[in-house]
Structures are given as structure tokens and as C-alpha cells.
């Protein structure tokens, strides 16, 4: 018992020494000697070759322009990294990668092998945004150069997508969600499409995938209906157009508006939309789905004076909304069915009711052709702003 303290002291010393040894021997990564890849883009460059463009953030106290765009060619993305490293005075690391862009050409051929390496690499986070370039990815990366390195494209693109995801304009395109939808049998991913506009990069639409191949594209207006189906709105905004005859009943005659309306159609914008969607398999044999959409919203703007004071007229407007939305949702679902893609996750719902057997991807693709829908939309206009 008396000896114990001395023995422990020796142990302590050895312990501490190994700890120091461990800490000293691993590779160090001082920030000034690193180039952080914040965003990178991939293009197909001829046969068996990809072109990678990376925007690198540097921490160099001497220079002001802290970003650099590096382009290189290789067979694999990690090969690209090697090539890129040859063009950099700082070691390139990908721990701060915020978004990855694939060219449309690549996306049409399939991107899963390129996504797989992101999954495999422990250094890359799960919340990296995946996007599709309208034309080439390098074109988007070169925006950094056009802005003379002042834009900080990596952060810019990250905020561009993040802000719009939070504003419920775009469906969240993180690596995790792509994986989830890709590896799920009854579901296909969607990713936003980016476009160059002047010196800026903008979101132009949403690409629809069949497994990992881009097959179609949704414009901003239709995206609303897709988002209704896959997600829910907490504070969305939607602009809807009606023919003048459709709403004739509601038009106020003696109002101080201009006699002749500026537009030939009537547009109504609702905002603060809260939506809730239930997709249910009602008939397992005939594969009949019932889609129930419920929306609560308020009217905020219309291009012609409409009488919204009476309960009956608000109800009338609600009904018009219902009809139009129902039509659009049905159109969208049929379009998905024709393309053989399933961004809504109907297959998931089907699978959840499939007892006693499992379904393969091919089987689902086969039965998906015979799916029928029954869409019900229910709008509630809660408010009409501060005036009637």
C-alpha cells in the first residue's frame, strides 16, 4: 500500500508522455497553410475525363483577394484534388466544402459515383448542398473571377440556397436528403438548377431526377406544387392567375381603381401559406392514392379590385383556388408518372402498406405506371390583410 503513490507517479508520467507523443506526431494543419475548398463544380470533359473547378478560400494576411479559382482535369474527383494541389501554394482541404455543382451534361448521365465519394470521405459534412448547373459548372465557378475575387462564391452560394430553403422557395438539397431519396426505393431526388446571370448566380428551377439521372426540370411556378406534395409550408407565398370571366362575380364596379385594368387576367397573391398534405394509399390492389392538401393562407395582393367583404365571395375565391390547385397538382402527378419519376415518394407510401414481402426498384417502376390519384385540395383564406 505504501508503494502505490510512487508507482502511480511513474504511470502518470508515461501516460502524459504518450499523450504528448501522440499529439506531436500527427499531421498538423495550421490555418495559414491551408486552402479551404468552399465550393466545387464538375463537368464532363470529353471521354473518360472530368473537369473540376474549385473555389478556394485562403487565409493569407498579406494579400487581400482571399479566394482563388482552380481548374484541373482528371478521372476521379480525388484525382482532381491532386491536380488542384499542384496549382496551389497551400494544402487544399475539403472540410469546409459548402456546395457542389454538377453540370447538366453530367447530371443527365448520372452523378451517383461522384456523390458516393462525398459520402465516403469522413471530412465532408452531411449538409453540403448539391446543385445542378444550367450549363457548365465551371461557368458558375468562374463568377468568382468575374467579381475579381470579392464575391466569396462558396459562402455566396451556400447562403443563396440556404436563404431560399428557409424562405420555402426551394426544396432542401443537402447531401443527406439526396442520399435518403436516392437510396430509398420509392423515391427520387430533386436538386436546384443554378444559372449564371450577369455577374451573379441565380436559382432558375428545380431538376427532377430518376435515380441519379436528371430527366426533367420544373420552373419556379410548378415548384410550389411539388413542395406542397413533398414537404409542408410554414409561410409560403404563391401567385395565381385567373381569367377575368372566372372571377367576374367578384369584381367591384364602383371603386376608385382605373376603369381599364392593366392586365388581361386577374392575378391574386396569397402568402403566409401553411400547408399540410396527406398522401394515402386507399386501394392497395388498384394502387389508388388519395392526396389531401390543406392550405391556410391570406390574400395580400390582387391586380384588380375584388370584393372580399362578404363571406360568400371569400368562399367563392377559395373554391376557385381549390379548382386551380387541384388541376395543377394532378397535372404534376401525371407528369411524374409519365416520366417514371417519383419525387413525391408514392413508392414509400406503397411500401409502408406492403405486408409480407419487399419490393425491388424494378417492381415499383413497373407498378408505378398503373397508379391512379384522387386529389383533394382545401383552401382556407383566413385573412385579407388589414382591409377587406
Amino acid at each position: 500500500m505504501q508503494k502505490l503513490p510512487k508507482c502511480n507517479l511513474i504511470l502518470w508520467t508515461i501516460c502524459l508522455m504518450t499523450m504528448i507523443l501522440c499529439a506531436g506526431c500527427i499531421q498538423q494543419k495550421p490555418l495559414e497553410k491551408l486552402g479551404l475548398i468552399t465550393t466545387s463544380g464538375y463537368d464532363l470533359a470529353g471521354k473518360n475525363k472530368i473537369k473540376g473547378t474549385a473555389v478556394v478560400q485562403k487565409f493569407d494576411p498579406m494579400t487581400r483577394a482571399a479566394t482563388k479559382v482552380i481548374t484541373s482535369y482528371a478521372k476521379t474527383t480525388k484525382g482532381l484534388r491532386q491536380q488542384e494541389n499542384l496549382q496551389s501554394n497551400q494544402k487544399l482541404v475539403s472540410g469546409q466544402l459548402r456546395s457542389v455543382t454538377y453540370s447538366r451534361e453530367l447530371a443527365k448521365k448520372g452523378i451517383i459515383q461522384l456523390v458516393d465519394t462525398l459520402n465516403r470521405d469522413a471530412a465532408i459534412g452531411n449538409m453540403v448542398y448539391l446543385t445542378i448547373a444550367d450549363q457548365t459548372a465551371s461557368e458558375i465557378m468562374q463568377i468568382e473571377n468575374r467579381n475579381k475575387g470579392n464575391l466569396n462564391l462558396g459562402t455566396y452560394m451556400y447562403n443563396l440556397i440556404k436563404q431560399n430553403v428557409e424562405g420555402e422557395q426551394v426544396i432542401s438539397p443537402t447531401l443527406h436528403e439526396f442520399n435518403h431519396n436516392y437510396y430509398d426505393i420509392g423515391r427520387d431526388p430533386v436538386l436546384p438548377i443554378l444559372k449564371v446571370k450577369g455577374k451573379d448566380v441565380i436559382i432558375s428551377g428545380v431538376g427532377l431526377f430518376q435515380e441519379d439521372r436528371l430527366v426533367d426540370e420544373l420552373k419556379q411556378g410548378d415548384l410550389f406544387y411539388l413542395k406542397i406534395l413533398v414537404d409542408k409550408y410554414k409561410a409560403g407565398t404563391k401567385e395565381m392567375g385567373f381569367k377575368t370571366e372566372q372571377l367576374k362575380k367578384l369584381i367591384l364596379k364602383n371603386e376608385n381603381y382605373t376603369r381599364k385594368p392593366i392586365f388581361s387576367k386577374i392575378y391574386v397573391t396569397v402568402d403566409n401559406i401553411r400547408s399540410k398534405t396527406k398522401i394515402k394509399l386507399v386501394n392497395k390492389k388498384n394502387l389508388h392514392f388519395r392526396v389531401d392538401v390543406k392550405l391556410d393562407s391570406r390574400v395580400l395582393e390582387m391586380t384588380q379590385a375584388l370584393d372580399l367583404g362578404k363571406p360568400a365571395s371569400v368562399k367563392f375565391l377559395q373554391k376557385k383556388f381549390d379548382q386551380q390547385m387541384k388541376k395543377k397538382v394532378e397535372e404534376l402527378l401525371l407528369r411524374f408518372k409519365e416520366l417514371g419519376i417519383d419525387p413525391v415518394g408514392l413508392g414509400n407510401e406503397y411500401e409502408a402498406h406492403l405486408r409480407g414481402k419487399t419490393i425491388t426498384k424494378e417492381e415499383w417502376d413497373r407498378v408505378y405506371k398503373d397508379v391512379t390519384f384522387d386529389v383533394h385540395v382545401k383552401n382556407t383564406i383566413e385573412r385579407t390583410g388589414v382591409i377587406d
Binding site: L4, C7, N8, L11, W12, I14, C15, T18, M19, L21, C22, C25, I26, Q27, G95, Q96, A122, G125, N126, M127, T174, H176, E177, N179, H180, N181, Y182, Y183, D184, I185, R187, G345, N348, E349, E351, A352, H353, L354, R355, G356, T358
Partner: protein
């Protein structure tokens, strides 16, 4: 060898602390990969398998407590000698020591692999294993009270990690769990079997028992500990099944860590760094407990000083760490230990406790008939 161990009053631990001990030796390196392993066996009903596995271990724990209560203050080393005699009993003792040494080794190597994959790819195995083994030896040198203290600290220090599960839950798709009970019984049982590597550890109660102060309360506390482990494991598995896509989970080696990747703190992009580092706190009591119980054998069987045993096992394990290089070797070893663990932690204690019960019943009858005549 004496069957009963009579430790000094100062070495005893509270029965209340046994709860922390059991939970922390059950929760270890296994849980990081558990959801995937069970998912491969039992598909989306994996959580049912994990839950049933927990119930099974509760049953085994109850049997162990029942057996231990038949003795005044014995550990497994003593009981085996009492039941099987000197030679066979000691052979089994040596076997159990080997099993615990290998378990210690597997826990260590699994954790080192995680460190190398997730944080420091360049760090050589021998350095990390040296540091960890020395740390373990240091703790075990302090005796059983220190080990139980480490277990207590580990449970309290990592309790907050449970709440991190809320973040991946936001990305969960509960439909993945439906339809319930769609997997047939064979696969679910297979899943229960696969759970064994992660639930292992409670068998160490058989070595801790003589050191518990209030032996009457032990049944309740061990059951509470096991229940908590079961609920925790089931919840983690459920979240994993809903978080990952069906084919995605089967491909992810450490689903729990991959899940932590989505947690983002304002000034820390990568939460899994913290998770992996904190995991040392989770596995430290495991390593300590296995090392302590295994080295205790030297003291009990050949009457050496336990300290000698600690160093022998430590050096053996450190030497062994040089032989494991690749993922597939690790896989084979883990599978082997899972089989071994299933036999020695689940099946064997049940068998042994039955033998003990029969023996005690037989002796009592003999005694009472002797008294009667």
C-alpha cells in the same frame, strides 16, 4: 482457492452505483454500429430485435443475480470451481479470462479504427493503443472503486448526447418503420443475436458482486440499468432506421456517427469530432472493467498480485494491436467476438445458474434428509 471473496470494508461500493456500472459497460463501442448490423439482419423491424435483445439480456441478468444470491459473496472464478471442481473449473476460469481479454482488445481496436477513420487518419495504431491502454491500466490500478467511479462519471458525462438525437429526428421519415412486424421471426431472432455484441458487458456483474455493499438491492438496480440501456438502444436504432434510406443504412459502417454529421453548431461545423472524442469517455469504463475482471483471474487462480496480471494483459493487448491493419480483419474479429460473447455472456451464465440452482437444491435436500434421519 476460496470460493467466497471477502473484500475489506473500504473496498465496497454502493448497490446504487452498480446501476451506472452495468449501463456503462453495456454501452460502448457497439452502439455506434449496432443499428446497421441489426438492420442488415432484420430490416426495418430491427428496433424490435434490439428491444427483444434487451429483454433477453434482462432475463440473463436476472438469472445471474439469482445464481449470485445462492452464494454469500462469490465471484465467477469461485463459483466455477465450486460447481465444476478444481481442474475443470480453473480451465473454464482461464477461458473466461481469455474471453474478457479479447473483449477488451476488440473494444480498443474498434475505437482506434473510429479515431483513424473520422479524425486522425495519419495517427499510427500503436500510439493510440499505448495511450489508451496506459490510461486503462492507470485506472484499474486504483482498484474497483475507481472503476465504478469512472463508470459513474462516464454515464453522467455523456448523458447529454442522448439529446443530440433530436437533431436527426427532424430529418426522419417515420414511414420507414411501416409496416410493423413485416420481417419474419427467423430474421428478427437473427437480429436479436446480432445485438449481443452491443449488449455484452453485464456479465461482469459476476465479478463485481463480492464488492457490492448492499447485496439485496442488486436485482432492482441491475434491471433498471438494463432497461435504460434497452430503451436507449431501441431509440437509437429507430432514429437510424427513419433517418437513413433503406439501402443507405446498410451501407453506412457507423450510422450513429454519420447521423451526428448533420449537427451543426454555430462555431463548430463538425460535431462528430466532439462525439468521437467524447466516445472515449463511454468506452473507458468498458475497457477498465474488462481489464480488471480479467486480471483478477491471476489473483484468484494462481494467487499472483493482480497488478502483475494487469501489466501482462496490457502488454498482450498492445502487442495484439500490431496485427490488425484493415477493416475486414476488424470485421472478422468483431464477428468472432460477437459469437463468443453470445455464448459466454448470454448462454453460459444461464446454464451455469441452472447448474448452481440444481446443485444447491440437491445439497439442501440431502442436508434436510440427513437431518430427518
Amino acid at each position: 482457492m476460496k470460493i467466497n471473496v471477502q473484500p475489506k470494508e473500504g473496498l465496497l461500493v454502493n448497490a446504487f452505483l452498480v446501476m451506472f456500472f452495468i449501463h456503462s459497460v453495456q454501452t460502448g463501442v457497439g452502439i455506434v454500429g449496432l443499428p446497421r448490423i441489426v438492420y442488415i439482419a432484420a430490416k426495418h423491424d430491427a428496433w424490435i430485435s434490439v428491444f427483444l435483445g434487451g429483454l433477453f439480456s434482462a432475463f440473463v441478468l436476472a438469472m445471474i443475480v439469482l445464481m449470485l444470491k445462492k452464494y454469500e459473496s462469490a465471484d465467477l472464478y469461485g463459483i466455477q470451481v465450486d460447481v465444476f471442481g478444481k481442474w475443470l473449473g480453473n480451465a473454464l476460469n482461464v477461458f473466461y479470462m481469455m474471453y474478457m481479454t479479447i473483449s477488451f482488445f476488440v473494444i480498443l481496436m474498434n475505437y482506434i479504427e473510429i479515431i483513424q477513420v473520422w479524425i486522425f487518419p495519419e495517427m499510427p495504431t500503436w500510439q493510440i493503443s499505448l495511450a489508451l491502454i496506459l490510461l486503462t491500466i492507470y485506472a484499474v490500478n486504483g482498484g474497483i472503486r475507481i472503476i465504478v467511479g469512472v463508470a459513474f462519471m462516464s454515464v453522467l458525462g455523456t448523458l447529454w448526447m442522448v439529446f443530440i438525437l433530436v437533431v436527426p429526428m427532424q430529418y426522419a421519415d417515420p414511414k420507414n418503420l411501416l409496416p410493423l412486424l413485416n420481417t419474419d421471426l427467423k430474421h428478427i431472432i437473427n437480429g436479436v443475436y446480432k445485438t449481443s455484441l452491443s449488449l455484452m458487458g453485464f456479465e461482469l456483474l459476476m465479478f463485481l458482486y463480492p464488492y457490492v455493499k448492499d447485496k439485496k438491492k442488486i436485482f432492482m438496480y441491475t434491471q433498471i440499468a438494463n432497461l435504460y440501456t434497452t430503451v436507449f438502444f431501441t431509440a437509437v436504432t429507430m432514429v437510424c432506421i427513419t433517418f437513413f434510406a433503406e439501402n443507405g443504412l446498410a451501407r453506412t459502417i457507423w450510422p450513429v456517427l454519420s447521423m451526428f454529421k448533420i449537427v451543426r453548431l454555430p462555431n463548430l461545423e463538425r460535431f462528430e469530432f466532439i462525439a468521437v472524442s467524447f466516445w472515449m469517455l463511454v468506452i473507458l469504463p468498458n475497457m477498465c472493467a474488462y481489464l480488471w475482471a480479467a486480471s483478477k483471474g491471476f489473483n484468484r487462480i494462481i494467487n499472483w498480485k493482480q497488478k502483475k496480471g494487469i501489466w501482462i494483459i496490457g502488454i498482450l493487448v498492445w502487442g495484439g494491436s500490431f496485427f490488425i491493419k484493415a477493416r475486414y480483419q476488424m470485421n472478422e474479429l468483431s464477428d468472432f467476438v460477437a459469437h463468443l460473447g453470445f455464448l459466454s455472456a448470454f448462454c453460459y451464465p444461464v446454464l451455469l445458474s441452472m447448474l448452481v440452482l440444481v446443485k444447491k437444491w440437491f445439497l439442501r435436500r440431502k442436508k434436510s434428509s440427513a437431518e430427518a434421519s
